[in-house]
């Protein structure tokens, strides 16, 4: 998440744009891959606010309007700013290679696009996209150790996501930053375009309003526009949060939650499940976070949705054969597996009947599988990332196990029908690694004394597994030593926090600098760590490291080697034959 960093990114972006030699900027950007027939906004920005007579835009040597078959509009001094803008909202193109040139006086800017077709017939009836938010390789390794066990160098079992036919290494950068955030990263999967940090379904142009930037169509919109396939969006974060929002949203600022709820209503995915109900309630309802009187609970009901606010209601809706389901199970994020199962902390007492991601996935599949034209389902295990921001690796790994159990549900659904493409992929990494084990029986008083590395790294003694493959005791005498590569000033206790999610740092009295949370600094082994992040960071940050994608089903064979994240969209669009009008 790290919204603070986002401001920096925006500020740096405009600093570059303000340099005097700024050239014309063309959207979609250079090397864009565009699905044939998909909608996108074409925009060219000309610095220093020229008149239309001073500029020319051609595509493959012809006037842009001729290639698009639609007129463009030109605005001098767009929004009173020091640039002029040429626009065509809702453009489409047939498959082919395109060279776009924008000429302004003696300056020429050029971008190339590939508009790709998809071959018929459609190969997959269904696509299930699992996103492990912030799930690094160490999350998978630790999940395997905790849920399958380890003995003499071998694991006693494979994760459901390990045992899939295809694998690829995915790079996750955005246009503006090597290290991306979840908005822009999920946007790459749902649109096939690269964009900037904080953006969903748009390119980042100079527009002042967050909703005015040049849009690109999301896979949910393409599917809804083209036919009768059903759409599901399932998460344990707030439903307005970046990853689920990437299915429907077009905004330069991911925190436009109230607008994002409206966008969910515009696109109407058949299944919508997560937390984050306050942005659905009119502002006069105590508990609302809206700033207007719109009642989206009522609006979704009017649109034929069954509302579920608990696991019991969710299952009842599925049993009753509901075709459309809005499930909102918490005002904030749904509690993670660690708190749901072990501590009953967090908001479990307030919301005692929340479904976890596995139960949500089951319900979503039961509801969607009746659709004759198939479905596209996105399932996110969101808090893998959020807990890593808090340097709370046990909770992050529990939610990795939870994701894997949801993948198991999907694999059981797909069975041997061979019509369902299942993809499991993180949106980005965190700098997290396993370096050995802590053993309380080792001599010494410091956390470092208790750490065994290489041959001194004794196997952990986590408690017996429950029926769902989670260890029932994690606060044991021999524990994995998991380290994060990025952290603010903090204290490392070397053991799980059984009182609730870790709070690694808190804001100091100057309102800017973050300092260690003293709550963690007093335990018997607590080790003070001087942060390695900027002083205004209060939690861990994402990493640019590539992530591991695994997949099975029709189309999965295309995942091999190293690919950019936009390629995931392309494989899904090809499997569903989403190209053309």
């Amino acid at each position: 998440m790290q919204l603070r960093t986002l401001w920096h990114a925006v500020a740096i972006g405009s600093a570059f744009a303000a340099t005097p030699v700024a050239a014309q900027t063309i959207y979609p950007i250079n090397r864009a891959e565009i699905l044939e027939g998909s909608r996108f906004d074409f925009k060219v920005e000309f610095p220093n606010a020229p008149t239309s007579a001073d500029v020319a835009v051609t595509i493959n040597g012809k006037p842009a309007a001729e290639i698009f078959g639609k007129g463009t509009t030109f605005t001098q001094n767009e929004e009173g700013q020091k640039h002029s803008a040429l626009w065509l909202r809702g453009a489409t193109l047939p498959a082919g290679n395109y060279t776009v040139e924008a000429t302004q006086g003696t300056n020429k800017a050029t971008v190339k696009w590939e508009v790709f077709a998809t071959t018929q017939p459609r190969r997959a009836k269904n696509v299930i996209l699992f996103i492990g938010d912030g799930m690094s390789v160490a999350n998978r390794t630790a999940a395997r150790i905790l849920s399958k066990g380890w003995d003499e160098g071998r694991y006693n079992g494979e994760l459901a996501m390990d045992d899939m036919s295809n694998m690829a290494l995915i790079s996750t950068s955005g246009t503006d930053s090597i290290v991306t955030d979840s908005a822009n990263a999920a946007h790459a999967y749902t649109t096939g375009h690269k964009s900037c940090v904080n953006a969903l379904g748009v390119y980042c142009a100079k527009n002042a309003l967050t909703l005015d930037h040049p849009k690109v169509e999301t896979i949910a919109e393409v599917i809804k526009r083209r036919g009768k396939m059903a759409i599901g969006v399932v998460t344990n974060s707030e439903i307005e949060d970046a990853t689920p929002a990437s299915m429907v949203a077009h905004t330069r600022r991911r925190s436009d939650f109230n607008d994002i709820v409206k966008m969910f209503h515009d696109v109407q995915p058949d299944v919508i499940m997560g937390g984050g109900s306050p942005n659905f309630l009119p502002k006069t309802t105590p508990g609302s976070k809206r700033t207007d009187e719109l009642d989206f609970i009522a609006r979704f009901k009017e649109a034929g949705y069954t509302l579920a606010t608990t696991k019991t209601e969710m299952n009842a809706a599925v049993a009753a054969g509901s075709k459309k389901l809005l499930g909102l199970y918490n005002t904030g994020n749904i509690d993670g597996a660690f708190d749901l199962r072990l501590t009953r902390k967090g908001t479990v007492s307030k919301f005692p009947d929340q479904p976890d991601v596995v139960e949500q996935t089951k319900a979503a599949l039961d509801l969607l599988k009746g659709n004759e034209d198939g479905f596209f389902l996105m399932v996110e295990s969101a808090r893998i990332d959020k807990y890593s921001h808090s340097l709370d690796w046990e909770r992050s790994v529990f939610d990795t196990i939870m994701l894997d159990n949801a993948v198991k549900v999907a694999k059981d659904f797909a069975g041997d029908r061979n019509d369902t493409l299942i993809i499991v992929v993180p949106d980005h990494a965190h700098p997290i690694s396993i370096i050995g084990t802590y053993d309380d029986d080792r001599p010494g008083q410091l956390l470092r004394d208790k750490l065994g590395v290489y041959a001194d790294s004794v196997p952990p003694n986590y408690g017996p597994l429950d029926a769902d493959g989670y260890p029932t005791k994690v606060d044991t005498s021999r524990r994995l030593a998991v380290v994060y590569g990025s952290y603010p000033d903090t204290c490392d206790t070397g053991r799980p926090d059984m009182t609730g999610e870790r709070v690694p740092a808190v804001k100091g009295p100057d309102g800017k600098t973050n300092i260690a949370n003293e709550k963690d600094c007093t335990g018997p082994l607590a080790a003070r760590r001087t942060g390695n992040l900027p002083f205004d960071a209060n939690s861990g940050v994402h990493a640019a490291d590539d992530v591991i994608l695994t997949a099975m089903g029709p189309g999965a064979e295309k995942f091999r080697g190293h690919k950019p994240n936009t390629y995931v969209f392309r494989v899904m669009a090809e499997a569903l034959a989403l190209g053309g009008e």
Binding site: F257, S288, G332, P504, K507, G508, G511, I515, N538
Partner: protein
Amino acid sequence: MQRQRHEMLTTRRVTLMGLAVALLCREARAAEPATIAFDGLYKSFGVLGFQFSDRVTSLRGQEVRLTGYMAPPLKPESHFFVLTREPLAICPFCQSDADWPVDIVVVFMKEITPMVSAGRKVVVSGRLEIGSATDPETGFVSQIRLVDARFTLA
């Protein structure tokens, strides 16, 4: 800590000086703000909204005292901050109110005051307001507020 000592003194006085003084004392204490707690703010709390407890409703417009954690302040000096039940893990106000927990209490100070570390427990006294209101300065929508408030470290 300070309140405990106050109560101990009160008790001693009661035993030493007898009933009349005890009655006086009780009257003097009745003028002090009523204490409310995060746990007692609501009688129902669900995803479709919540209802304030009868006690909170009856204390509307009166001076109350509430203990909580100061959320990361916007500025080192401000007349406005957010009080939360638990210390917040992630700085939410960097860009918007999107990530706030729902059961926050917004505090408008009597005067601009230097803020303390986020994560510090504070005791806030102020006049209780409930019902939806939008701060004209920040656009922040709140359902429960303490206004003309002061705080001390807990």
